[in-house]
Amino acid sequence: MPNFEPIVGRYFTIYVDGQPCRIYVEEAGDGIPLVCLHTAGSDARQYRHLLCDETITKNFRVIAFDMPWHGKSNPPPGFRDNEYRLTTELYKETVMTFCNAYDLVNPVIMGCSMGGRLTLHLALEQAEYFRCVIALEGADKLEPYYDLSWLHRPDVHGGEVCAAFVSAQIAPQSPDEYRWETLWHYMQGGPGIFKGDLYFYWHDGDFDDRSPRINTKNCPVYLLSGEYDSSCTPERTIDTAERITGAKTTIMEGMGHFPMSENPELFKKFIYPVLEEIRGA
């Protein structure tokens, strides 16, 4: 038999906004449920190193799924007739429907980039349900700095341009192997999906007006951001932390926007203490 990785992948269908969505999910480990949300325009393959890390999976049941339209999850039937655009409501409904379908009890939720932003929304609105939230590269407010229409037009290759845009978000120190694996995921995204996700991350999902209402005594908040992140910069992360009383902040030196996939070894240094603290709480 081959030397299988411990990851098990399965499909199931959830209903979001009244539409059936066939979801692909991977999981590994036992213990405290740890739901992982991928970045805009990518998929749950970003979490493969966590899913294979025994130090984590001996205490956590790591669950990473592809959002509808992403990775191996299908878009809803009739997708051809609709432009994909991720709204805050749709994103929240998708994640909560997923968690409820899984019957998870008091899970931890960790998301990166747009996933990190969403965990802040959930820390406020689902404080009783989630044990805590971990926002990787997940400031509550960003400033757009390029025209999103470049990401989806017939005279520009969508996969190439998405990867070329986000390659700026990877730290120069990150190993080439993992840099290009991270970019490969972007090269494989569906047409217009990264653009549709950024509608949430850059516009609809702004949360700086509500983040001060998060009660970290009910739902602790961990913010971890990479030094080389050009969108969720260290400064924006610190600004976010100042709005959320009790949030715990880590600036990850030598890291970019994709800590779990661009430099999995270095990420351990930052995520292990957080998970250890959660386990001991």
Partner: protein, 121 residues
């Protein structure tokens, strides 16, 4: 001039020139107040010349301060200087002209310019 090395480094990089094999254009590369025209044929640099006349122009322009390029070309640049697209939000770089061919071949142009990074010999 540091750009003297650019032609050899780019044209000696087979992977880069292969990825740029559809690129045939001249673009303007600005260093402080000086503009240079970099002409590319089938992914290879055929000429780099200082812009002397206003009528000499590339299809698009990428301009930054000399100190910005110097930092960009360090082996491990400081954050914000490590990639042209990370310079954008900090307004360390200015783009002008018809950006379509730049965007269509963005990773190629990023890698072409970064060819001058220390340690790339």
């Amino acid at each position: 001039m540091v750009l003297n090395k650019l032609k050899d480094r780019v044209n000696g990089n087979k992977s880069l020139t292969e990825r740029g094999k559809w690129v045939n254009l001249s673009f303007t590369f600005g260093v402080d107040n000086d503009d240079y025209l970099i002409s590319i044929k089938n992914g290879k640099i055929i000429q780099i010349q200082k812009r002397n006349l206003a009528t000499e122009s590339g299809i698009f322009a990428i301009r930054a301060a000399k100190s910005t390029w110097k930092e960009h070309w360090r082996c491990i640049p400081k954050r914000d200087f490590h990639d042209i697209w990370s310079m954008l939000p900090k307004q360390l770089i200015r783009l002008d002209g018809d950006l379509l061919p730049l965007i269509q071949n963005l990773q190629f142009f990023k890698d072409l310019i970064a060819s001058l990074r220390d340690g790339k010999d």
